[in-house]
Amino acid sequence: MSSLAPDIQTMPTPLERPKHHYLNHNKSIASWLFTLDHKRIGLLYMVTVLAAFAIGGIFAILLRTELWAPGPLFSADKTKAWNLYNHFFTLHGAVMVFMFIIPAVPAILGNFVLPIMLGAKDVAFPRLNLLSFYIYVIGSCFLAYNLLSGVLYVIVGHPVLWGGYGLDTGWTFYTPYSTTASDSGVLLATLGAFILGFSSILTGLNFIATVHMLRPKGMTWFRMPLFIWATYATALIQVLATPVLAITLLLLVAERALRVGIFDPTIGGDPVLYQHFFWFYSHPAVYIMILPAFGVISELITTHSRRHIFGYHFIALSSIAIALLGFLVWGHHMFTSGQSPLANAIFSLITFSIAIPSAVKVFNWVATLWGSSIHLRTPMLYALFFIGLFTIGGLTGLHLGTLSTDIHLHDTYFVVAHFHYVMVGSMLFAFIGAIYHWFPKIFGRMCNDRVGQIGAVITFVGFNMTFLIQFVAGAEGMPRRYATYPDAFQIYHQISTIGAYIISLGMFITLYNWVVGLFWGPIAPANPWGGNTLEWHTASPPPYDNFSVSPEVGDPYEMQIWEPDPNGNGWVKNPEKAAAAAAASHGHGHGGAH
């Protein structure tokens, strides 16, 4: 019996899909719109979140196109062209941050995978889960409507749709520009973001309760898969940080509508206070974005290299450390705002402390690869790219955390490059890898691996072309949020713009691959990759109640109990090895993960 899994595309024996699964459990529209099934809710999120990604991506292309050359492009009237650009970059940022990145992994994959990984039938509060989704939809409608109609407003010169004045303040809404000087639809946009925040809070609340209370017998904290540790840490941040955003946006609305004056210096307020409030949420928010990605990478690397994770405890606890430390560093976005040198020093020191747990994770992942048995499938490719790109993103964070260099680099393209490396190069790559990884489980079909690899490489090349050069531009002084620029910077912008178009090519290839896989892909086995987390112990797609037979809880990374199926249909459990592993882990008591 070969110990290698044969290429899944050349399976000799055709598989049959399970007769009853969650997708055909009830096929009416109402059963989808009012579903309480966490799997269906995850799919609903997938549709809306990917749509948001498309919108955000379109505006990225538009703004990069404007930046091809100095001078106005989309309009002969300079003022109109700059206004359009300002709406584009604001829209790109707000849609991507609020409607895409923050919900993406938790709401789609967390919802789908987390309960199954716990051997549970659903999340703790299924109805709250559905409410979360609809709150997301409503908030997104506010935001998207306002932003898109605002672009129409700028183009045409007067509001076309009721209330549609768009948003040109940047996704950060800094006062006093957003409260007094901007004539765009700040109220409507802020309201949208406010509502979206509640979706995030309720999802986090749900996951916290689920992880605490719905773990099966035998799954102690240190026997949970790392994806759950990561999602749990994310949920902690969602629950504690997002309410501060809620009150910040509420104050912004009050300031703008009623001129209450909390941020208005002429009547006793303080514009920098807004920045403190805003970043107190928004810095932990970036950890909401990246921690689930870390969890995904832990799963992808272990499964596709068939080796137990190296340093399980360190990775698990580093997620919690990052979540907690992340609350203490918001001031590093404000080094040049005029806050005291003492505050600057404290924020800088604590910022460095977050680098350690992040670095520890990366080292542990690389150490996991040693001595492993790597299958360079599409998800694994994305995971390896993640390691490289996150390394760059994280290391350039050091330049920005250091006080002296940050004074030079703040609000330049260096910052833009840094956060795109962590948000796109890291988080997006992990997200796409995760979708490929769990695609067979979610849809019961396989995607074409070769096309997936091509898409990954194209995206990787395009991404680096776009953003690597921006570090250079920023170090040379190119400021952010500029619609036009001195001629000397043009070559950097042109390289970036070409790279952006290459990224969109990669995205189209990936989307194409998913659509083809969804409708015409080969049937997927229960365990195509040979992972041992509990979702692979059930059928693909899973039944409505997730498990036909309650799963045995063991070490989530005990990959060796799985062997390639002699029929070529993925991996199957070897009963003797499984029994041996179960006996061994029961002998360990709890905390059996290495």
């Binding site: 579903t35 309480l36 104050l251 806050q339």
Partner: protein, 375 residues
């Protein structure tokens, strides 16, 4: 918008979920059907697990509420630190007696709520309903008093923001234009009645807002009120006095370029307003602290009274909204209690509603001294 978790932490089977599923699909948890109470959701193994999960969810939700109000408390601290005299003066517009009654009502309603939870645990349906009604009444009383207080503000035109009567520059007038004597005389009707009697200034029942010319120290074309201005008038094209250059002032908020350092205590001598109304220096309050009147506020601070009213309305408004939501929860619990849905085996919604109400009470306990009892 706040959502209460208590209405979604229940257990009712809902559309799309076949209530028989959990029996049909073997899920290997060994439940006989009779051991499966109706209120147990399909994804929980035992009622204890479900109850514990609901409580955990509720406490997490309360944590989010604490953080949300926490932001407001931080804003309060910053505004108060930057504008201490404004807070000393402006809080007098609130009557601490009403605030104290509010506090007592909420504390009492928390007590009745806790009693209600106990009643549910002991299967005392009638008592539970009565306690819920009392709690609701407490909330109603609280909101009623809020209405009285807000109405008083309305009457005195003490709104937040630009509608506030004391923000002269927001009344459509040029910021730099001094008021005419006639305009000042017309301000007479916009005074603050001191609702509590022991704070009446010696000068009489009403104090006039002092209306010197606008605060830039520019030369006024009328009245001798310019003589009382804190800084000498500066010709408009003279170079401004640049604030002294010390490292410790880096980033310090400076209110007015023509001033010296910011936020020094400023109590002014008696001022004369055109029209002959005189404001005396006021006697100390019985409690031993000085009364600060509007006229005694340093001129730039007179434009900053928003610092107090804005945070007052934001905090009490958001809190009041939460009280209203809580009252809605009480009504819903009452209706369900009428239907006999709560008993010793299952009283989760009552428990969770109680937790929410206690939080609302707790927030008020902090709001009251911070807003009403400033010394």
């Amino acid at each position: 918008m706040a959502t209460t978790a208590s209405d979604t932490h229940g257990h009712d089977p809902s559309p799309g979920h076949d209530a028989h599923d959990h029996a049909k699909v073997g899920h290997g948890d060994g439940h006989g059907h009779e051991a499966h109470p109706a209120h147990l959701a399909h994804h929980f193994d035992t009622p204890e697990q479900q109850f514990g999960t609901s409580k955990l969810g509720m406490w997490t939700f309360l944590a989010t509420e604490v953080l949300m109000f926490g932001g407001l408390f931080v804003a309060y601290s910053v505004l108060r630190h930057n504008n201490p005299e404004v807070f000393l003066w402006a809080h007098k517009a609130l009557d601490w007696k009403w605030g104290a009654i509010d506090t007592a009502i909420l504390l009492a309603s928390s007590y009745t709520m806790a009693w209600g939870v106990r009643a549910a645990q002991l299967n005392q349906r009638g008592l539970l309903m009565f306690m819920l009604a009392l709690t609701f009444a407490g909330g109603l009383g609280f909101m009623g008093i809020k209405a009285i207080e807000y109405e008083a503000k309305w009457r005195h035109h003490l709104f937040p923001g630009k509608l506030n009567v004391l923000n002269v520059e927001y009344k459509g007038q040029n910021f730099k234009a001094p008021l005419t004597a006639e305009q000042i005389a017309n301000q007479k009707e916009h005074t603050i009645d001191y609702v509590d009697s022991h704070d009446k200034p010696a000068g009489g029942e009403h104090t006039m807002p002092a209306k010197q010319e606008s605060g830039n120290g520019e030369s006024s074309t009328h009245g001798d009120s310019s003589a009382e201005v804190h800084t000498p008038p500066v010709a408009h094209d003279a170079p401004p006095v640049i604030a002294s250059v010390h490292a410790e002032l880096i980033g310090t908020p400076v209110i007015d370029p023509h001033e010296g350092t910011a936020n020094a205590a400023k109590i002014k001598p008696p001022v004369t307003i055109p029209g002959g109304v005189k404001l005396d220096a006021l006697e100390p309050h019985q409690g031993g602290h000085a009364i600060v009147t509007y006229g005694m506020l340093h001129t730039p601070d007179q434009k900053k009274i928003n610092a107090f009213f804005s945070i007052y309305f934001m905090m009490t408004g958001l809190h009041g909204f939460h009280v209203l939501v809580g009252m809605g929860v009480m009504v819903w619990l009452f209706i369900r209690a009428t239907r006999g849905e709560f008993h010793s085996e299952y009283y989760t919604p009552v428990d969770l509603g109680g937790l929410y109400w206690h939080l609302v009470d707790l927030i008020w306990i902090f709001l009251f001294p911070l807003l009403y009892l400033i010394h």
